[in-house]
């Protein structure tokens, strides 16, 4: 299972899934808007595992849902294999055969009144795919529930947490999708089971060539499975690059702080940011991180400080070299 980074060489083909300057807003009362996703460009190439990392409330789950067409988009575009996501009912339904969602809480994602067979077969029935029993058995076998027939008649409450999450993944795989979006796929599982599920996701990428977007707050998970990392803060991606680069040499002070508080990283002096992610209904001007930025507080040249306070940063380009949206640490960002 181990081996060198298998980042696919930058291919000429279009990304399997791409967001272009995407914006999602929610009414926040009194005529204000919470800009949950505030201009995000992100791409997942075919067969790539991308981790979208951030704290709760940063908009990462909203972004994932927008990418699946589950969340109305305010501005920007979602592209699938280079083509804009169809807005029509039929187009969306066809898309949902190809892109699947795996949620955090496997107990909640399964209808307690439906057996394993019914839950896995649900997608087939929705899309009117035949040969139901063979496909269900194959999907269950693929996620390691063998022999599949033994699990057909079970109900979710009779399964362990890890088995439930496998059933959820099988329910997604049964439609033979090309894209899988997993929102915190292991955070509610027992420690010793997490690794198995992550290994399963990696194996599915290997065997089926799935493109994976994993939404998580856990940098360790990203280190475990992701080719690329996008770090999200307050509705915007503030750093993007290959996992080795972003976690090896983080550029953005926020990424550095996040990395430093992961227990046992050891090599970094813990930078505990004060306060919690601010309100998406009141995004600060200039660099959106500046009120909490430890770098800014430790002293920067006046000219940079002015920019941090006053000049908004551009949306990071998609899948380019390792970049961070920071006036102080990334010259390219600052200049553009």
């Amino acid at each position: 299972m181990s081996g060198p980074a298998r980042t696919p060489a930058e291919p000429a083909t279009a990304p399997a899934l791409e967001a272009r300057e995407l914006e999602v807003r929610f009414p926040a009362g009194r005529g204000r808007w919470a800009r949950a996703v505030d201009g995000v460009s992100l791409a997942v190439r075919p067969g790539q595992v991308v981790a979208l990392v951030g704290e709760s409330g940063c908009g990462k789950s909203t972004l994932a849902r927008a990418l699946l067409g589950l969340q109305p988009v305010h501005a920007g575009q979602v592209l699938v294999d280079g083509a804009p996501l169809a807005a029509s009912r039929a187009g969306l339904k066809a898309y949902r055969r190809r892109a699947q969602l795996v949620l955090q809480d496997p107990m909640g994602s399964l209808n307690p009144r439906m057996s394993v067979y019914e839950s896995v077969a649900e997608g087939l029935r929705i899309h009117g795919v035949g040969d139901e029993e063979r496909r269900v058995a194959e999907a269950l076998g693929r996620v390691g529930l063998r022999p599949p027939e033994r699990f057909f008649a079970r109900y979710p409450h009779e399964l362990s947490g890890g088995q439930r999450q496998r059933v959820v993944i099988a329910g997604a795989l049964v439609l033979e999708p090309s894209i899988l979006v997993a929102d915190e796929p292991v955070s509610s599982l027992d420690a010793s089971v997490r690794g198995e599920i992550l290994a399963l996701l990696l194996r599915l990428r290997e065997e089926l060539g799935l493109s994976l977007l994993v939404v998580t707050h856990d940098l360790g998970l990203a280190w475990n499975i992701a080719d690329r990392i996008a770090v999200m803060y307050l509705g915007r991606i503030i750093e993007e690059g290959s996992t080795d680069e972003v976690l090896g040499e983080p550029k953005h002070p926020y990424t550095r702080a996040l990395l430093s508080v992961v227990p046992e990283v050891g090599r970094l002096e813990p930078v505990v940011l004060t306060g919690e992610p601010p309100d998406p209904a009141a995004i600060p001007a200039g660099c959106r991180f500046h009120p909490r930025c430890p770098l800014l507080r430790s002293g920067l040249p006046d000219e940079v400080v002015t920019r941090c306070h006053g000049r908004a940063l551009p949306v990071l380009p998609v899948q380019g070299p390792h970049r961070a949206a920071c006036h102080a640490t990334d010259r390219a960002s600052a200049d553009s």
Binding site: L101, Q104, N111, I126, P147, S188
Partner: protein
């Protein structure tokens, strides 16, 4: 907005929830396709058996059920026990307003009919009206409740307002007006009660639908491409139904009371004796002032007994299927 808030603590699934040992353990891989459906059926009937076993443990629920079965039998056997002519005003054989005797254990009414026969025949009307009106009210209430809960936009809001509007109309005036307009017949009584009593059910179903809609499996169904109909029929309804069924039994009690009220007010079908109708007769003939207790007490006590029985059963079912107790009936 955050999904993390819904995260169950790692202690969940602790010692308090042992997985039931699989009744009817799944067959090996050699089992053919039909066995899967058979197994699913076996599992469902096992779940029903578990619910029944739980019901049996409830003393009050069983008492209610016994009373109800008794009334049901009597109602079914009415033509055998008392041939139709015994309740006919013209064919009555007894003295008018006679106190209980051996021939008329509960005395007679102003036309000399046996009160016992009237009460037995009245059980038919009361139970039929109670069940039919409840069925109607449940149908309307469930459909409107599920839609009001499922559709988040203006449609859901409009349905909810509609429900509220019906909820605040005082029942009796509306029922009286409707009954007067439609005319006095058994079917009309059923319609009147059904049309006026659904808002409570709709409210309950809507609340339950909202709770179910927040569950991740609905988002999963949406992500799989399931439309509104799929979500409502495959996920919301099965999770709402048990509560609706429990509520039904409570509803029946209410419908029987309503029927009694309407009949007492003279809006019932004059050709069929119902408990309310008997009470109405007692009232108009001054049974109370002449001390004819046998005319008033039996129908009154029957109403109380049946309503109580349905309530006891309903409360018991409610505790069994209450989703908060995590029991899957």
């Amino acid at each position: 907005m955050s999904v993390r808030d819904a995260l169950p603590g790692p202690a969940e699934g602790g010692p308090a929830t042992p997985p039931p040992t699989g009744a009817g353990a799944p067959d090996g891989p050699g089992a053919g396709p039909p066995s899967r459906r058979r197994l699913a059926r076996a599992r469902r009937s096992a779940a029903r058996r578990r619910a029944w076993a739980q019901f049996r443990r409830s003393r009050s629920g069983m008492a209610g059920l016994l009373v109800l079965v008794g009334f049901g039998l009597v109602a079914l056997l009415a033509p055998v026990l008392f041939p139709p002519e015994t309740i006919s005003v013209t064919d009555a054989t007894g003295e008018p307003m006679a106190p209980p005797t051996a021939g008329f254990p509960l005395g007679t009414d102003e036309s000399g009919r046996s009160i016992l026969a009237l009460v037995v025949w009245g059980a038919r009307v009361s139970l039929v009206v109670g069940l039919a009106a409840t069925l109607m009210s449940m149908l309307i209430g469930t459909v409107i409740g599920v839609m009001a809960g499922h559709f988040a936009g203006w449609f859901g809001v409009a349905l909810n307002r509609f429900t509220d509007w019906f909820l605040v109309i005082p029942f009796l005036p509306l029922a009286i007006v409707l009954a007067t307009v439609l005319g006095a017949s058994l079917l009309n009584i059923i319609i009147v009660i059904g049309v006026t009593s659904w808002p409570g059910t709709a409210r309950l179903v809507r609340a339950q639908t909202l709770a179910v809609s927040a569950r991740p499996y609905l988002e999963r169904a949406r992500a799989l491409g399931g439309g509104d109909w799929h979500q409502m029929s495959r996920h919301v309804l099965p999770n709402v139904m048990p509560l609706v069924l429990a509520n039904t039994t409570l509803m029946v009690a209410l419908a029987i009371l309503s029927e009694t009220t309407l009949s007492f007010l003279g809006l019932g079908d004059p050709l069929r004796p119902s408990w309310g109708g008997i009470l109405d007769g007692a009232f108009t003939n001054g049974a109370m002032s002449v001390g004819a207790w046998w005319y008033v007490l039996p129908p009154g006590l029957c109403v109380v007994a049946v309503v109580l029985a349905f309530t006891l059963i309903g409360r018991t079912l409610e505790t069994i299927v209450d989703p908060r107790r995590g029991v899957r009936a």
